[in-house]
């Protein structure tokens, strides 16, 4: 267990980069500092020895003042070294945390875009933050504490045994009893109790999460009292188990533990009583008294040392946690970049026997899907929800990589195309478009930073955004986002369309659901679509069949298969899935909320 934890810590240290040496230095210095802290006690021994040698003529021990100064010097030296140690570890810790953050962000920047649909940004940010923070604490304090404590312990043992090992052993007796008490607490049948206690804690935690998360819904169904009872039951269970385990089972052993650690010195008394007569007889009584005085004073360190050790050990637990979080982020897949990127030959798109399944799904989202789009054509993807339309459209800008088969743009597999070139050639407008926290002007120019203001305004006009610009105080220079104004969903969509129009990419992939807004926005967005799509190669996910009546080709995807394809007229004539959908659609356009008349 100790070894595994050490391994985790060193894995975390890998992120320290150039500063790794600093951490090691810091730990070493910490060890030196702790050992140095023992040095003043040596001078204490010397002072006592000199005084006893001249007892009772105390003023004759002239050297003792010098010893005093030495003790002070050693103490100060220990402090200075300790500061240096902490500085080293802190600098290294901060750098490591920074590196972790950078690594994670750089990695995520290469993840397929689909990854961000399934992993909420808040969750990712918390993981990165949590990992960096925990690592910081670990490297800044805990590691140095541990090496320091080990060094202290070694120095302690040396001092305990060097002057009179018998009295030293008496002091150590406290440690032995303490460990025994702790084992009694954790071993045997108590091990089960401890496990039960941690289990109950875990359950209370989970219950708490469910409770809070569910309150808004449960309140609506007036059942907060029940979910509350469930949570309360978990809390009570934990309280009882904790009270029993920590409160009752541990009380005796802990009381023993505390008694001997704080009272470690008391074992010196019987030891001294035993040794005194023989040393008196042997004529070494003065030495004996010196040693006794020393141990009486020094035994106090025993207590502090034991407490420190228990404290330091706890910190290592964090390491595993931190590493886990980092790996969760770094485990995100990355899109491979081709060594020798090729250029698409034209603006055609083709799907060749494409198969694709989402990570956690057992059934394929796309199953041997093939279709092609000639340059300048408009192809509509329709079908029931979950059928694969959005998935297929997402593969074109490489939100995900296909499992088998190929998606080609201009004859070239998208995986072979340079990602930047691909993004220049394909504009996509999906649901939930976001704008940057920047001015509208900058947002529109994001894809073409060198466009002029006039060009941007023209694009905004084409995207029917004039009303937005007119109602904002600074027009196109208004900053959007957390610092400034907010636009409604429909308005954001139109600005995103302006961006796409300005980008002037020859291929457009569009999810028509973006138009589902209030009637005012809807009409405007549709007008903006017309501007965007004129003269380009378009793949459109259609939800309302009226929009694709004039498409060059309609591909009907159902449960991942291409069920039918053809023009609107052809498909109606085929009297298959599409024909049924069309009939359904016509009906729903008529639908209104009706009530059954009694």
């Amino acid at each position: 267990m100790e070894k595994k934890k050490r391994g985790t810590a060193s894995q975390l240290l890998n992120f320290a980069g150039a500063y790794r040496g600093l951490t090691v230095a810091g730990c070493a210095l910490s060890a030196v500092a702790m050992a140095t802290n023992m040095v003043p006690y040596v001078f204490v021994w010397l002072v006592v020895r000199d005084l006893i040698a001249v007892a009772p003529d105390w003023t004759a021990a002239t050297n003792i003042e010098r010893y005093g100064w030495w003790a002070l010097a050693a103490a100060i030296a220990g402090i200075v070294v300790y500061f240096l140690a902490l500085m080293c570890t802190h600098l290294a810790a901060f750098r490591t945390a920074a590196n972790i953050r950078k690594r994670c962000m750089a990695h995520l920047a290469k993840a397929p875009l689909g990854y961000f649909d399934t992993h909420a940004s808040g969750l990712l940010r918390r993981r990165i933050d949590g990992a960096a923070g925990q690592t910081e604490t670990l490297l800044a304090h805990n590691l140095a504490d541990i090496t320091g404590t080990i060094a202290m312990f070694v120095a302690l043992l040396v001092l305990l045994l060097v002057f009179d090992w018998r009295m030293g052993a008496a002091c150590l007796l406290a440690a032995v009893i303490s460990i025994g008490a702790l084992f009694a607490m954790m071993g045997g049948k108590n091990a089960n109790l401890m496990a039960e206690y941690y289990d109950a804690l875990d359950r209370a935690s989970k219950a708490g999460t469910e409770y809070v998360r569910g309150i808004p819904v449960v309140k609506v169904f007036q059942q907060t009292v029940y979910s509350f009872r469930a949570f309360k039951a978990a809390i009570d269970d934990y309280s009882h188990k904790a009270s029993y385990y920590q409160g009752k089972v541990c009380k005796g052993p802990q009381a023993v533990n505390l008694t001997v650690t704080e009272g470690a010195f008391v074992f010196l008394v019987p030891a001294a009583l035993l040794i005194a007569p023989s040393s008196l007889a042997a004529g070494t009584f003065a030495e004996f008294v010196t040693d006794f005085a020393f141990y009486a004073i020094f035994s106090a360190v025993m207590s502090t040392a034991l407490a420190k050790i228990m404290f330091a050990a706890g910190g290592l637990n964090q390491a595993g946690d931190a590493l886990r979080r980092i790996n969760e982020v770094l485990d995100a897949p990355t899109l491979p970049v081709a060594d020798d990127p090729l250029s698409p030959q034209d603006n055609s798109i083709s799907f060749e026997d494409v198969c694709f399944a989402y990570e956690e799904s057992d059934r394929p989202a796309l199953d041997h899907v093939s279709f092609s789009v000639e340059p300048g054509q408009l192809v509509a993807l329709v079908g029931p929800s979950g059928g694969g339309k959005t998935t297929a459209a997402s593969l074109i800008p490489q939100f995900w990589d296909v499992d088998t088969g190929a998606v080609r743009v201009g004859g070239v597999d998208v995986q072979q195309v340079d990602p930047y070139a691909r993004m220049d050639r394909v504009a996509f407008v999906f649901q939930n478009t976001r704008l940057f926290s920047a001015s509208i002007l900058d947002n529109v120019r994001a894809a073409r930073p060198d466009a002029t203001r006039e060009q941007a305004l023209a694009a905004l006009h084409a995207a029917q955004c004039d009303d937005i610009l007119n109602k904002l105080p600074e027009g196109v220079d208004t900053i959007i986002g957390s610092a400034g104004t907010y636009l409604s969903g429909g308005e954001q969509q139109r600005v995103a369309l302006a961006r796409a129009i300005l980008k002037d990419a020859p291929i457009v992939v569009l999810d028509e659901a973006t138009a589902f807004a209030d009637p005012e926005n809807e009409a405007l967005i549709q007008a903006a679509f017309e501007q965007l799509l004129a003269g380009r190669t378009v793949v459109m996910i259609a939800h309302r069949l009226s929009t694709v009546v004039d498409a060059d080709q309609i591909v009907v995807l159902d449960a991942g298969h291409v069920a039918e394809r053809g023009t609107h007229a052809e498909l109606l004539g085929a009297d298959g899935l599409y024909a049924r959908m069309w009939a359904d659609y016509q009906r729903s356009v008529q639908w209104k909320i009706e009530r059954e008349v009694a």
Binding site: P56, G68, P216, G263
Partner: protein, 583 residues
């Protein structure tokens, strides 16, 4: 003096908890004093050996000392037992009590409290905050205050004995505390600086992750990454600065006490050489100096914990200070008309009105449609009607009873809501639907589910209705979640139905099924529907048009079309959009 209301508030303790802290403190003082008494044994023994050495007296009798050792161990054990009891053993009652009252409070808070929060973060903080406080209550408070008191007692005693050595011995304690508390003052301004940088970084990272699609689509990864890297570097710099300045203080506090031993030796040596004191006095102080600091070595780490726990306390107090939405538990409406009279509502953050002077009535048994551009206040009206939020002006009555006067949970009994966000639990489909009515039988649940057209997709699941949905049902599509929501509403069978145009984001097939299910839900009830589609409300009994927080038109659909106003225009636009196609 030390304790009282302020103390309780500072540490979020109950009165019983405070009493325990008092006892924990007392027993800590007792244990510390007993330890010092034990040290006295060493002193006495040393004194005896001294007389043997210098005056040739015989060795002391063993028996009294052994008795002393045994007595000490026994007393110390009893005292530590009590101390542990009042610090650790009883803390779990306090913790359980804290968690329970927190949970109780949360469920009484108005739903608006939850609307703007990240629930995941709220839970996380709630759990870890209470954990941290558990630690403070068990470990810290008793030990800390007990340490203060016992050290004070010892300090007074030794000052009387020999003030010079006492000073040499104890000077470290007040200095350490001054440093520690002084560091807090220095700490705050630098820490604020660092914290600001930290928040900005978190925002940058969040934005980068959220807009990753747009960033990649516009080939701006480098620019955004550079910005984030900059923020990370700045944070690092600020942290180093904070550490350099405050770290010195905090660490100085812990090590300064170690100097105490050296100064005691030095001052003691000089005093002895000057003949002012004798060996036994020096010996006594040397015994003291190492032990007096022991409680404080730990304390400093504990004090740091107390500082940190401040934030936790504040968060918990915020929850307890938020006013609850309360009201009468008896609710006897006279029919189920919903009457808005001059209703107003605004968010307190920026003061602008989300609703102003809204007046209309949704009659029982009728369908009332709320239409208008997004942001005009339609959702707000629906939410106010169910008292999800409290309206701030005018009257809003259900069956003649002002809704703000009724306990929200009781009021909920009259409403079924089908909104766009559907919260599902990590439980089976059956249980998720049963939420609609506590104690409903399996048959009733299945009947509601079938009526809501759930059979088709549920039967395709591996275990049918017994299939667990998973956390928040991420595997279900929007349409499927919507139908579960409708099943819940059908099961509940409440007299008022609030419906947010649920069919907006669906494709054709689901739309028909959902619309079908809705039709069954709405018979004979007071229906208020937030509509986006003109065509869907043509069959409504009354249409209320909202624009910019006000009601601009209301009447039957025919009346409004004839009036050729806002509604008529919207209908024309919708017709155009509905038949839109690309040429």
């Amino acid at each position: 003096m030390l304790f009282g209301e302020k103390f309780r508030k500072k540490y979020a303790l109950s009165e019983a908890g405070e009493a325990n802290v008092k006892r924990g403190t007392l027993w800590t003082v007792v244990t510390n004093l007993i330890v010092m008494a034990g040290v006295g044994l060493l002193f006495l023994l040393m004194q005896d050996y001294m007389t043997t050495l210098t005056e040739g007296a015989p060795l002391p009798q063993a028996l009294p000392y052994i008795a002393g050792v045994v007595g000490f161990l026994a007393l110390s054990f009893v005292a530590h037992y009590q101390q542990y009891h009042y610090t650790y053993s009883v803390v779990y009652d306090e913790v359980g009590h804290a968690r329970t009252s927190l949970a109780e409070r949360l469920r009484k808070l108005p739903l608006s409290f939850f609307a703007h929060r990240d629930l995941a973060e709220l839970t996380e903080t709630m759990m870890s905050d209470v954990d941290r406080l558990e630690h403070v209550w068990s470990h810290v408070l008793g030990y800390l205050y007990g340490g203060y008191i016992s050290t004070a007692i010892i300090a007074v005693t030794v000052l009387i004995y020999d003030w010079r050595l006492a000073l040499a011995c104890l000077w470290g304690v007040p200095v350490a505390f001054a440093l520690l508390f002084g560091s807090r003052a220095v700490f705050s301004s630098y820490a604020k600086h660092a914290k600001a940088a930290g928040l900005r970084l978190a925002d940058d990272i969040q934005e980068t992750l959220e807009t990753m699609r747009e960033i990649r689509a516009t080939n701006q990864e480098e620019r955004f990454l550079a910005r984030v890297y900059d923020g990370i570097d700045t944070c690092e710099q600020r942290m180093i600065q904070v550490e350099l300045r405050t770290g010195i203080f905090v660490n100085a506090a812990s090590v300064i006490m170690r100097l105490g031993l050296a100064t005691t030796v030095l001052v003691g040596a000089r005093l002895i050489l000057a003949g002012s004191i004798d060996f036994m006095t020096l010996f006594m102080f040397l015994l003291m100096v190492t032990r007096v600091y022991a409680p404080f070595d730990q304390s400093l780490a504990l004090i740091a914990e107390v500082f940190i726990s401040d934030v936790s306390v504040q968060r918990l107090n915020e929850i307890f200070d938020t006013p609850v939405a309360s009201g009468s538990e008896s609710f006897a409406p006279n029919g189920y008309d919903i009457e808005f009279r001059d209703v107003g509502f605004g968010y307190d953050t920026d003061g602008s009105d989300v609703l102003q002077g809204v007046t209309f009535t949704a009659r029982e048994g009728e369908v009332t449609a709320l239409v208008g551009p997004s942001g005009s206040g339609k959702s707000t009206c629906a939410r106010l009607a169910a008292r999800l939020w409290d309206h701030s002006a005018g009257t809003l009555a259900l069956g003649g009873v002002e809704v703000n006067d009724v306990d929200p949970e009781v009021l909920m009994g009259a409403y079924s809501m089908v909104f766009q966000d559907v919260t599902l639990f990590d439980d089976t489909v059956m249980e998720n639907i049963r939420l609609g009515r506590h104690g409903a039988t399996d048959e009733e649940v299945l009947a509601a589910a079938t009526a809501a057209n759930c059979d088709e997709f549920v039967n395709a699941l591996p275990q049918g209705y017994a299939t667990p949905i998973g956390e928040n049902g991420t595997r279900l599509s929007g349409g499927e979640r919507q139908r579960i929501s409708i099943a819940r509403a059908l099961l509940k069978d409440a007299p008022v139905v609030l419906l947010d145009e649920a069919t907006a984001s669906l494709d054709v097939e689901n739309e028909t099924k959902v619309q079908d299910a809705l039709g069954r839900l709405l018979a004979h009830k007071t229906v208020v529907v937030i509509a986006h589609r003109m065509r869907t409300v043509m069959g409504a009994n009354k249409v209320v048009v909202l624009k910019e927080s006000r009601v601009v038109e209301q009447g039957t659909p025919e009346e409004l079309l004839a009036a050729d106003g806002v509604f008529a225009r919207m209908a024309r636009l919708q017709r155009k959009s509905a038949s839109w196609s690309l040429t």
